[in-house]
Symmetry: C4
Subunit: 254 residues, 4 copies
């Protein structure tokens, strides 16, 4: 009898118990996680400080729900494993279990105290997003695609860093004297180079002399390649990962 | 006799009646739809207020054309279905029929009155663009590609939101005291984080301290991946959707 | 004898006469075209007005070279066709022939006169770039890829326009009263929407209210999709075009 | 005995001696290279000038390590070739050998002298990054993908240049009189055109008149294609390069 209740609880809580989709309980929990992160974000806004007490109450309520969820997961943990009580210990020290515990604890730590440390304690609540991770199944596609080409992606990332270093050094040599605030050293130039080569372009720093603009134009054109390179690598990797998945479903293993 | 006229009208109005391309009537209607949306957009410009009366007249003329089109579609609707009069009711309450009706009604609602509500009533005319939707056949390719990978795309969208949250929180902690206006809370920081991670970079907010710029540079480099990820997923999905379309045309089903 | 000289001239001038690469004559001509366009660009810079006479002389020299090239192409034209003299007429009125004639004529039109019309006459020289078009063979790959998916690309372009219209209308409704200069009408808002959805982000206009920034953030995230969609379509199209090219080279036609 | 030591040294230093990964010695050297480049970058920052003496000492230490590495590579060079002493000469004059020598020499050139020339001598240390090149094996994938489509990539780069020229000329004609500082000549307009078509958008120059913004909007939309084109070409090339690699590993050559 207890076993069948425990089994039902486990089927509600563990996404692996379903072939696809989320159980009603997990759907509600996902919404509460997003809500609680949204509240933690809003609480930092000084113009909403008159809501602090309401947010505090809501936060305690959410903490209570997460506490019940944590205890239920701990109690039902043996269902997903070999059935022994050691499964509870394993869950308690798994990343998922620790994330669940943090989600509970961060609700009940003092939240009214000032200072940077306590601000960071309050921000622990943002880690609740990690609880969402277990609920999606598309991770494996993306992880496979990235992992298959991790060396090519790392190399294209390295090329981006080298391009940033070259562009920053060139502008430092050419405009370091003209705009010492923006280009007076390579680290300062690098801020411009990063903003340019990633095509962000804040506009707080840009070359003004003719040779500087020539170099800037070359860097701008290079930025197209820097974006296209990882996009192309990932596109081919997804295409490949998908084909292998389909192959392994319908064909005998090679 | 009436039947053959109705059939000819239907063949002129319904894009499904042709293997490819648009009938002359639909080509003219597509131009009028674009023209009427353009007029509705221009009418909001205060420096063109001396044209209001001309635009009003033109709008009434366009409304009359759309009224005739709506009645013709309603009359010819049985041709596209089982031929019974119920097909007219079905068309009248279909999304396409309601879009056509809105296109007519929005032309004859009073347009000279001031106020936000009436401004929005006038903007109903922008919904005429929805009438264009039925005229293109490439929807299915794009819809298939997006639908096939909706979970991976949703996840890459979720990763973008998490990256925005992390970047915003980091800048809030590092520069919240230095630039309270731009980074004094996570929602404020999020405006900078969105502009940076989507590579827009308005330049109204940017880090100024060394640690802030270091975090900003990491966020800038991460933006390359955030753009490359959905591009790669969609590229593989289009490639796959196309291959299946070709396969289903020329090969026996697997 | 004249025939063999004419044949040698034709082989030097017509890129189709070689399996790959460019003849020495065409390599020199390509450099001169780029040089002459560069000079036409530099001539517009007021701070270089002391060089006008030198640039004028150089321009006349380049015009003489292009005149010789034009006459040689006209004379050798029958080699590339059926050998009859009518081939010269056909070349003279072909787009390539007209581009060559314009390149010559634009050098000898008066260049010192002021005024907008003559400025535009001088800019005719920029059309010399069209002469470069015939020299590349990669056009067909790109043209095939774009042509294969022209409807999907047009639709993704149409979706971009609709997204711009929606974003512009939303900001006009939300911030039209707050920032009338930037968002006081849909055409004005559209300038911001274009800069945002293409991820350019000049920073001359951006929302400042909370609801405006919320809409701006959604538009910013949508911009990732607007860039990823055509990139994905083109990636699949290139992949497909390449496979068919390889297939038609090494396999019997399907 | 000497031979076996030399062989062990060579196996530690030459990445080709291992099927995958880096030897411990090379891992340490890679870290030192990154560290020494980081120091050379930091040294240019005027607000860190109080650290100059410390950085100088650290630099001399790094130079000594690179000197030992250079001599060891020179001594062990015959192991990687036919075993003859001529292999040392070949290494000394290979790009890798010259890069290693530069890395040593740049540490011991006088670094305290002022002036642009000596600043550039100090920047020679940035070339140490070239030493990292030999340590990665993903180069070949990326190089193959780029090389396979070098003509299509060059053409899409050429199209970008033509688009920049057209956009710059159009804005020069339309806004040259209104904003002479930003659009008074084609080279000046080109700075705006580059920033727009690469989607950087610094915001130091942008059209302000209605026709200028219309042209700017068209250029902005064209920028999507300019980024999507090389991304699509590279995606297809990576996909193809990968398939051929896999094909040559597991299948008989076609």
């Amino acid at each position: 009898m207890t076993g069948s209740i425990r089994s039902a609880v486990w089927r509600q809580l563990d996404p692996r118990a379903r072939a696809s989709g989320l159980s009603p309980t997990n759907q509600v929990l996902a919404c509460l996680i997003v809500l609680s992160v949204g509240l933690a974000v809003l609480e930092t806004e000084p113009t909403l400080s008159h809501l602090t007490n309401d947010l505090r109450l809501l936060e305690l309520g959410l903490g209570a729900v997460f506490a019940v969820e944590y205890l239920a997961r701990l109690w039902a943990a043996p269902e997903g494993a070999d059935g022994s009580a050691r499964a509870r210990l394993r869950f308690a020290f798994s990343p998922a279990g620790l994330a669940d515990l943090t989600a509970v604890v961060s609700a009940f730590l003092p939240m009214a105290a000032p200072g940077l440390l306590l601000r960071m304690v309050r921000l622990l609540r943002l880690f609740r997003l990690a609880k969402l991770g277990r609920m999606s199944r598309a991770w494996s596609d993306i992880a496979t695609a990235i992992n298959d080409r991790r060396e090519a992606l790392a190399l294209s990332f390295g090329l981006a860093l080298v391009a940033i270093l070259i562009a920053a050094t060139a502008l430092y040599l050419v405009e370091g004297q003209v705009q010492p605030e923006a280009f007076g050293s390579i680290p300062r130039s690098a801020w411009w180079a990063v903003a340019t080569l990633t095509t962000i372009g804040y506009g707080d720093a840009y070359p003004v002399t003719a040779p500087g603009r020539l170099i800037g134009g070359v860097a701008a054109l290079a930025s197209i390649g820097l974006v296209a390179l990882p996009a192309g690598i990932l596109a081919a990797a997804f295409s490949d990962a998908m084909k292998r998945n389909r192959g392994s479903n319908s064909l005998p293993p090679e």
